[in-house]
């Protein structure tokens, strides 16, 4: 299968996603330049982490206007799997492909560290290899990952089972002390109603090799590989 990895000016985890897809999982991978419209036959599209266009305005606010985003939107509307990681998640929010918004971390500081995540939903193409309630240890690295949704939206996200990952303690219990950024309902990841578009603040591509201190991120890539194989 072929991963398409979008490169915005200012993306900086594009090579990491590419490396995970190609070198770790042995899949095809292509960079998709933001000024192009061609998805080059991608089976899955990743919007990687970084600071697209410098993020001087609002994270992801400029990237949504890049020509490639129209193609990504059309791809998602056809049911194609799209994963936004970190800045990619922020771009999905700004583009309206996912609901809600990001605020500055409540510490007002960038935070880079491993966090614990509980898998809430396993019927997305990026989490189907997980067991419900499974706890993952994956790094974060962001200054604006404090997910916010107004009460009615939050209710519908929960009712529709759109919360995919939640920040927890190592035992999988939601605990404010283990919420690294202040996200409402400890939300680390959500999907759209159709469940093919997923945004997450943690970086699974940073946790795919034992050498780097953890392999729990493999599950995200294994999920999509198996989802595409069974199509």
């Amino acid at each position: 299968m072929r991963f398409g990895i979008v490169v915005f000016p200012g993306s900086n985890c594009d090579e990491d996603a590419f490396h995970a897809a190609k070198d770790v999982f042995g899949q095809e991978a292509e960079y998709l330049w933001h000024k192009d419209a061609d998805l080059k036959g991608s089976d899955v599209v990743i919007l990687p982490g970084g600071f697209a266009h410098g993020d001087y305005l609002r994270t992801g606010a400029m990237a949504r206007f890049s020509p490639i985003m129209a193609s990504v939107r059309a791809f998602a509307e056809r049911g194609g799997p799209v994963l936004g990681i970190c800045n990619g998640f922020q771009i999905l929010l700004e583009s309206g492909l996912l609901p809600g918004a990001m605020l500055r971390n409540r510490s007002l500081k960038y935070r880079c560290e491993h966090v614990y995540l509980r898998v809430e939903q396993t019927d997305t193409p990026f989490t189907n290899a997980a067991k419900p309630g499974q706890v993952l240890r994956i790094p974060i690295g962001h200054g604006e990952g404090n997910y916010y949704a107004p009460p009615d939206l939050l209710k519908s996200l929960e009712d529709n089972r759109q919360v995919v990952l939640r920040y927890t303690d190592p035992q999988g219990r939601v605990d404010d002390a283990w919420n690294p950024n202040g996200s409402v309902n400890a939300i680390a990841s959500i999907c759209n109603e159709r469940r093919n578009v997923v945004g997450m603040m943690p970086h699974p591509e940073r946790a795919c090799e034992a050498l780097l201190g953890g392999e729990d991120g493999r599950l995200v890539f294994e999920s999509i590989v198996s989802a595409m194989a069974s199509r």
């Binding site: 200012g10 490396h19 001087y56 880079c112 690295g141 200054g143 970086h203 940073r206 780097l212 201190g213």
Partner: protein
């Protein structure tokens, strides 16, 4: 027009002015004087330091590029080079902490990618006034946020560093940043201009009035008027630099490039004259073609601006479109501002009219060199005197251990490093907080380890020995991961070199660095000198900061500082002599910075480092931690933290004093050099001891990993017995809770 007031404003002496007139054969105009003043500033010319720097070892079979280029490079095998350098941004960071630190990071990253290398790791070495002193918090928060803001955004991980708090840095913090990149050894690009008629391009951010005379500012002491110098600090734009980085690396691949240099200190002036000088060529530019952010800028201002994120490059004639197209792709505009000439001169025009015409060599190789007078400072003799017998009886070792773990030098710096993205690029093997930074080299089985170290207190007490200890510690930290140290870079932070005492400290330190680098086979491949680190006549501690880079053949074998499994044996490599001179113990318990720093025998140090590399290579040990600040007890505690258990240790008593409690303290907290605490599976202990004996390194099994307590017996008597959880809580929360508190 040019009177003594104008000269003083430019920091140019009367004698220097006469030399300028000699080079030109006439009086300079104001633009030319401005150009000379920045190129002959201490910052750009190294005029006080050059005679000493020449004595440093810079060669070795592994050195691909020594000092004199934008950065140094060493051979790491498989056709690859590690390109690295350290640089200071002390003065700008004091005036405007966020931007000063951010642009420091931006500057060192440009030095690395200018060489054709992809930057993959950052380190930093920071010094501030005492944690609780007024103003420290603001400076620390600003500097850390600035480093994070730039490094995180551009996507280069900050994989390690060091930070210390001492009263001597209150009015003059140190911000030293190190960057390492990887290039194909055959593709290293140099900052040369050659080939008459080749086009000279300007690319990157537009030129504004920011930073004019930044280099001269960095060459003067601070006083009450420093706040007025704020406009001389530049503002960083990491996004622009990210575009430049990608575009420049793409242009370099195309073979259309002759040379490239970033516009750092002294901006357009430095890049044009240095590139011309290195290539034995001249450069002629027209400043009217330079993209400008403000209107009405004079040639003087354009030539001296230190606006950030700008590059000067020389392309091959006939390849212009190719180069321009690559920059266009990244929404950058390469603007041709001039040509390479054959007359060895820097000629600056403004709308065609010549406004400056200077031989390049007068600005670079023939800049003034001073052999400044030196004299040992008066304080040294007194400060080296340490009489332990007159000190009050030491507090209990339990309490002392807690106090040391809570000291700002030793306490966990997690509050700092978790603000840095240390994992982007997915190469980071050893996370910050565990000794040297280690990154793998993708596409190979190799890894690189790197560490920056310096101890101003030791250097204050004995600059030469302090500098030797800094080199040894940086190399030892690298060796503890299993990497063989290959090369070094130095950042020399000192006071005003016009004072004989400061110049003496400088010369002593450089002599020490040279001696240690020779003995440990880590040549200096480049670096930076920062002088005039004084405020209101009070100099900082002399602070040479050494960055060492080492290579591991097999990334899978890297070890960290943390103990692995309960039941493992703890082995001390090296010898404890109970040295307390300049130790953290004296500072924390007695508020004393006194005595002679620990003795060091470089042959023994070398044997120790080779031994630990061999032990890692043969998979005989599972952790290795350099024994430094706070001595053996603190080192063992740090090895235990995060491992899920404690340690039970028994060491020999030491006799240095008539007080038995002081002897106990010396055994636990003394800072003898050339020691490493390692842990090994019980089945490997004998092999470790045998190898050590073969290498001539003293070694002893001193205890066992595990349990819930940190227990140390000295000479058979239990001296420390504390819960490891409590010790870890103190160590890990001190700095964090300080910054969480809402204090001024």
């Amino acid at each position: 027009m040019i009177d003594s007031a104008v000269l003083e404003r430019h920091g140019v002496t009367r004698e220097e002015y006469e030399r300028i007139v000699g080079f030109l054969g006439r009086e300079p105009n104001l633009t030319e004087l401005g150009i000379f003043s920045v190129m002959w500033s201490e910052h750009c010319s190294y005029k006080s330091s050059r005679v000493h720097l020449k004595t440093l070892p810079t060669e070795g079979p592994q050195v691909l590029q020594g000092p004199g280029e934008n950065a140094g490079a060493i051979d790491i095998g498989e056709g690859l080079a590690a390109v690295f350098k350290i640089e200071s941004h002390n003065h700008p960071s004091f005036i405007e902490p966020y931007q000063g630190a951010a642009t420091g990071v931006g500057g060192i990253i440009r030095d690395i990618f200018t060489m054709g290398a992809r930057p993959i790791a950052l380190l930093n070495s920071l010094r501030f006034g005492e944690l609780g002193a007024p103003g420290t918090k603001r400076l620390v928060e600003g500097v850390v946020a600035g480093i994070a803001g730039y490094g995180n955004s551009i996507g280069i991980p900050t994989v390690g560093g060091e930070i210390m708090f001492e009263p001597g840095y209150a009015g003059n913090p140190l911000v030293n940043v190190f960057c390492l990149g990887i290039a194909r050894a055959s593709d290293i690009v140099k900052g040369v201009a050659s080939g008459v008629g080749n086009p000279v391009y300007y690319v990157g951010a537009k030129t504004g009035r920011d930073g004019i005379h930044g280099a001269t500012m960095a060459s003067a002491e601070f006083d009450d008027s420093s706040a007025e110098k704020r406009p001389a600090v530049q503002v960083g734009d990491p996004f622009m630099e990210k575009l430049l980085l990608e575009a420049c690396l793409e242009v370099m691949k195309s073979d259309a490039l002759v040379g490239i240099q970033d516009m750092g200190a002294a901006g357009l002036t430095c890049s044009t004259s240095e590139m011309g000088s290195r290539g034995g060529a001249g450069i002629e530019i027209d400043v009217a073609l330079v993209p400008q952010r403000e209107t009405g800028m004079t040639p003087y201002e354009i030539m001296l601006s230190e606006s950030q994120e700008r590059m000067l490059l020389v392309a091959k004639r006939g390849r212009e479109t190719e180069v321009e197209r690559i920059f266009e792709k990244w929404d950058l505009h390469a603007v041709r501002i001039g040509d390479v000439t054959d007359d060895g001169r820097l000629r600056v025009k403004n709308h065609g009219a010549v406004v400056a015409d200077i031989p390049n060599r007068a600005l670079t190789d023939e800049a003034p060199v001073y052999r400044r007078p030196m004299a040992a400072p008066e304080y040294i003799e007194e400060a080296q005197r340490l009489d332990l017998a007159v000190l009050p009886a030491p507090p209990s070792p339990d309490r002392t251990l807690f106090r040391l773990l809570a000291s700002s030098t030793i306490a966990s710096k997690r509050w700092v490093y978790r603000q840095y993205d240390h994992m982007v690029r997915t190469n980071t093997i050893n996370l910050p907080g565990s000794g040297a930074g280690v990154v793998r080299v993708k596409g190979t089985s190799r890894a690189l380890a790197m560490s920056v170290d310096g101890n101003g207190r030791y250097c204050y007490l004995d600059p030469k020995r302090g500098a030797i200890l800094a080199v040894a510690e940086a190399a030892r930290n690298v060796a503890c991961t299993g990497a063989r140290p290959l090369g070094a870079t130095n950042c020399l932070n000192f006071g005003n070199p016009e004072r004989p005492a400061i110049m003496w400290q400088f010369a002593q330190a450089v002599a020490g660095i040279g001696e240690a680098c020779r003995a440990l086979s880590v040549p200096i491949t480049g670096g930076n000198v920062s002088l005039y680190n004084e405020t209101d006549g009070k100099p900082i501690y002399p602070t040479p900061v050494i960055g060492v880079v080492g290579l591991l053949g097999d990334a899978e074998r890297v070890v960290g500082t943390r103990f692995a499994d309960a039941g493992d044996a703890i082995v001390l490599l090296g010898e404890s002599r109970g040295e307390l001179g300049g130790a953290e113990y004296l500072k924390v318990v007695y508020d004393l910075v006194r005595g002679v720093p620990p003795a060091i025998d470089l042959d023994r140090e070398r044997a120790l480092q080779q031994l630990v590399v061999e032990l890692v290579e043969q998979r005989l040990i599972r952790s290795a931690h350099d024994c430094a600040d706070g001595g053996l007890a603190v080192t063992v505690a740090e090895c235990a933290f995060g491992s899920g258990g404690g340690a039970d240790v028994s060491i020999d008593s030491i006799s240095i004093s008539s007080q038995s409690a002081m002897n106990e303290a010396a055994a636990l907290f003394g800072e003898s050099a050339s020691r490493i605490v390692v842990s090994a599976a019980p089945s490997h202990v004998q092999a470790v001891l045998d190898r050590a004996a073969a290498a001539g390194v003293p070694a002893r099994a001193i205890g066992t990993v595990g349990g819930a307590r940190l227990r140390f017996a000295v000479g058979g008597r239990v001296a420390v017995d504390v819960a490891v959880d409590e010790a870890e809580r103190i160590w890990s929360t001190t700095i964090e809770s300080h910054f969480a508190r809402r204090v001024a």
